[in-house]
Symmetry: C2
Subunit: 180 residues, 2 copies
């Protein structure tokens, strides 16, 4: 029986005015950098997804790798990275999405999934949801199933988690910062 | 008793002429993307470092995160990322190193380590050793101890692992490609 109540916010640091004036950046390095916090975070997610026959963790470049890779180990899954454009060496498919200024492209190897794959999609943070929506499209092109998209933090004020739900994804985060 | 002999090369794919003509790129996504391979890789490294009182995994951006984060979980360590310039939100120290064309800078948070830290430094690949040498300098600025630098692959022909040993680091890789 797990008796510790895990509050991620007790470990997360807020850095004011980063990367630009007026933004309160939620910094998970203080959570990763606390061995109890790190373990409780991974256990909380692993407990949620155990027994669901998930066979693939898809992690988003780069902080999603830190959350997703331990989950792959604990849930006996393979690990698939979605990377920024130009980082994957084999044949890729890409998806381009809009940023506030300009565009970004994320890529996946063409042999990364199959239509039998049962995927857990993992990132650290849900903000505007652009990267996760692009990831959903990439995974959909394999006809693979996404069991859920999960993150450590959701920022619901930025609308990403709602947009993902409207796109048909199940979404989960360990904590959220709202109206702060 | 572990009865499986783990050969990482059986899972690693070679992509010819990537990122430039004449380079044989050793692609670990096929290792990460095989659940047995992924587990055996992490277990092999965890087995090597268990019982050495390591308390901190320092992982290098970004593939080092995929190897280092599961090790942090299994070895009951905290996880500290070394990131490319401009990615860390809090106060940082940086180290600049030479590339074939130009320079790169890696950074670490100023509160990431202490002089009591016992660190395992983790990346996916040792090539020319530039990033790992920069990481060593960053960690040395805390007076922290580096127990070993480890990777999945060493490319000894490129001289990095030798350079690291000359700089006083213990170095270990699960496999190497030499004269190929």
């Amino acid at each position: 029986m797990r008796t510790t109540t895990f509050d991620p916010k007790a470990y997360i640091r807020t850095v004011p005015n980063w990367p630009i004036e007026g933004v309160q950046f939620r910094d998970i390095t203080t959570l990763l950098g606390d061995k109890e916090g790190f373990r409780l975070m991974i256990d909380a997610l692993a407990d949620r997804y155990r027994g669901l026959d998930i066979d693939t963790i898809v992690g988003l470049d780069a902080r999603g790798f830190i959350i997703g890779a331990p989950l792959a180990y604990l849930l006996d899954c393979k690990f698939v990275p979605i990377r920024k454009k130009g980082k994957l060496p084999f044949e890729t498919i890409g998806e381009t999405y809009e940023l506030e200024y300009g565009q970004a492209t994320v890529e996946m190897h063409t042999d990364a999934l199959s239509k039998e794959s049962k995927v857990l999609l993992v990132d650290d943070l849900i903000a505007t949801g652009g990267t996760l929506l692009a990831a959903q499209k990439l995974i959909a092109s394999f006809d693979a199933e996404i069991v859920e998209a999960c993150a450590v933090i959701d920022l619901p004020d930025l609308g990403g988690s709602n947009k993902l739900r409207e796109a048909g994804l199940k979404v989960y985060a360990l904590c959220e910062y709202e109206g702060e």
